[in-house]
């Protein structure tokens, strides 16, 4: 009882201090934080948080490049953040102000430093892989067992044709589809070679008639409802679809696979725009996210792995042992990450993507 009263007092104090502590404007991916993270942060710090979401890096990027977005914390993927940092839109992260920075996995920071030298502009938030989500029953009825969980499901015309009637969806993200296509062809996923791009385009054109739509978030609902049976998707999103399907109890079982040929591993970064109105509160928020219990709570809820070594012990066993969330060492060896493209290549890529989608 005493404990409850103390909690109440703390909440009341927090609420009372809301005005004095100011505000914080967060712009994050949709479905990408635990249900109570923001409320807990507000209660602990007295800062009032305005929370807003997006579902594509491009939309965030346009806001950053326009400037005066009003956001204090944004969450671009590393390869996008690298280019935006080049345009000078991010403030340097004051690591001394982050008491929990030491919790981050130094291995991962080293990988990120390739795109963000000295980890100057971003703090890793969550890690994701891009792989295949599928409706177990629908897929088993249609294709051989050894093809399940292979890029063949999407990139092999014969296999894709068998799955076309129950619905194949693909992320509407040229770089994140072209990279595994190049990888599937045995080419460098980060290649900017024109001939390589043409080969990957031809591969995608060969399966194009079997793809129902290109979208970066709709597949979550559609997989869960059984409206589609295969989707190239982000790990945590597919796993959220798996849970929703299980909750709905309509006989749909969703599974996630990091394809055996290899998939993309990506990192989403917490960054502070250089014109952030509440930069100090932004640092407080980032430091809060770096707390082991908080990072673990987010992972437990969104099913994305965090780069926080100290958090692992607080992550639920079923999450920690899920190879779709924390891939095994062998699978990790096959993962690749993306690098930012030159504007010239981006134009060719977008053009090729339009060709793939519309046939023009």
């Amino acid at each position: 009882m005493k404990k409850i009263m103390m909690t109440c007092a703390a909440v009341a104090l927090g609420a009372g201090g809301a005005l004095a502590e100011g505000e914080l404007n967060v712009y994050n991916w949709s479905d990408y934080i635990a249900e109570d993270t923001i409320a807990n942060f507000e209660a602990e710090t007295g800062i009032k948080v305005n929370y807003d979401v997006f579902d594509s890096n491009e939309v965030l990027e346009a806001k950053m490049l326009t400037g005066s977005s009003g956001y204090d914390v944004v969450v671009p993927s590393i390869e996008f953040m690298a280019r935006q940092a080049q345009a000078g839109v991010f403030a340097k992260i004051d690591k001394d102000a982050l008491s929990n920075y030491g919790n981050l996995d130094p291995q991962i920071l080293k990988i990120l430093a390739v795109n963000d030298p000295d980890n100057t502009h971003g703090v890793p938030y969550m890690m994701f892989t891009t792989g295949l989500g599928y409706n177990v029953k629908a897929v088993e009825e249609r294709i051989d067992a050894e093809k399940i969980g292979s890029w063949d499901m999407v990139f092999d015309p014969e296999t894709a044709a068998k799955l076309a009637d129950c619905g194949i969806a693909v992320l509407d993200s040229p770089s994140e589809i072209m990279a595994p296509a190049l990888n599937y062809l045995g080419l460098d996923p980060n290649s900017e070679d024109k001939a390589d791009l043409e080969k990957a385009t031809d591969l995608l054109l060969s399966v194009r008639p079997h793809i129902r739509y290109f979208h970066s978030s709709q597949y979550i609902n559609d997989l869960a409802n059984g409206d589609i049976c295969v989707s190239v998707g982000y790990s945590g999103d597919v796993l959220q679809a798996r849970d929703r399907a299980a909750e709905a109890n309509q006989g749909v079982e969703v599974a996630y696979a990091i394809p055996k040929e290899g998939g993309q591993v990506g990192f989403d970064m917490l960054a502070i725009p250089d014109d952030a109105p509440n930069a100090e509160n932004a640092l407080k928020f980032i430091d809060y996210i770096l707390k082991p219990e908080i990072a673990a709570a987010v992972t437990n809820y969104v099913y994305y792995a965090n780069p926080n070594t100290a958090a692992t012990e607080f992550v639920d066993d079923e999450v920690r042992n899920d190879p779709g969330i924390y891939p095994s060492k062998e699978v990790q060896a096959n993962l690749f990450s993306l690098r930012p493209h030159t504007p010239r290549y981006d134009r060719s890529l977008t053009r090729a993507w339009t060709t793939i989608k519309t046939g023009q």
Partner: protein, 316 residues
Amino acid sequence: MSQEETLNGKLPGGAFLGRALHRIGLRGRGLVIAIPVLWLFLFFLLPFLVVAKISLSEAAIARPPYLPLWNWDDGFLNITLNFGNYLFLFDDPLYLSAYIESVKIAAVSTVITLLVGYPMAYLIARAAPDTRNILLMLVILPFWTSFLLRVYAWIGFLKGNGIINNILMKIGLINEPLVMLQTDFAVYIGIVYTYLPFMILPLFANLVKLDQSYLEASADLGARPVTTFFTVTLPLSASGIIAGCMLVFIPAVGEFVIPALLGGPDTLMIGRVLWNEFFSNRDWPIASAVAIVMLVVLVIPIMLLRKAQAAEAEVQ
């Protein structure tokens, strides 16, 4: 005393403003016209000029992501205009076919909207005044719900295991769900549904003013109802038809949300091309050029049409 107070600026604010405007030569009629002119200048011409300016620039990794048009160099003003963005649009057939496709989808939707909307507007105009208000209310009512939400509702109707398919399968008309979502068919439904009130309202405003005695005269002279409709009602409602069609056609050409949500990946409208240029390529100059060309393609024929109409009216 009171004279002095006035001179000290103690007049009410409105009167003071009136005086100030008077001094710069704005009064009465001029003032009435100045407000819409100022409005159009601020919210139409100025944004248009900004877009036109960006369209002559060059993309760069910067904030904002294009190079400035002018810079001072040793006291010289250097202006760099890059018309390459416009030439580029003609290099790649993609842009032309996107324009054509957009105009086609908008035109077909407009015709369908007219065919659906005209009888509705006609009936509302002919209804008893009490019923008329209820019917008009029903036309306007959907506006109280967000447009986005209503388009999402159509997804629920049209999708594979959606309402329409489930009903059709239950009554045994079909065995396999029909693919309706993510097709041009769904885009037409979305546009016609969304823009229908914009067609009905101007048509209604026109038809309700139609003098009944014309119809009676036509009937007295022996014309059958169909003949009366085509020779009297329809020509007299031409201005309502044109207004309704403009209100539907123009926004439908640039429509982005409906094809994005209901259309298939191969629905290539200019809104999508703009999105790609702006977001995927981060090429604001090309995106601006696409927008300017669309404006020119749309506005010039409309202005010519208006001019022809005005000339015709003068002759009459």
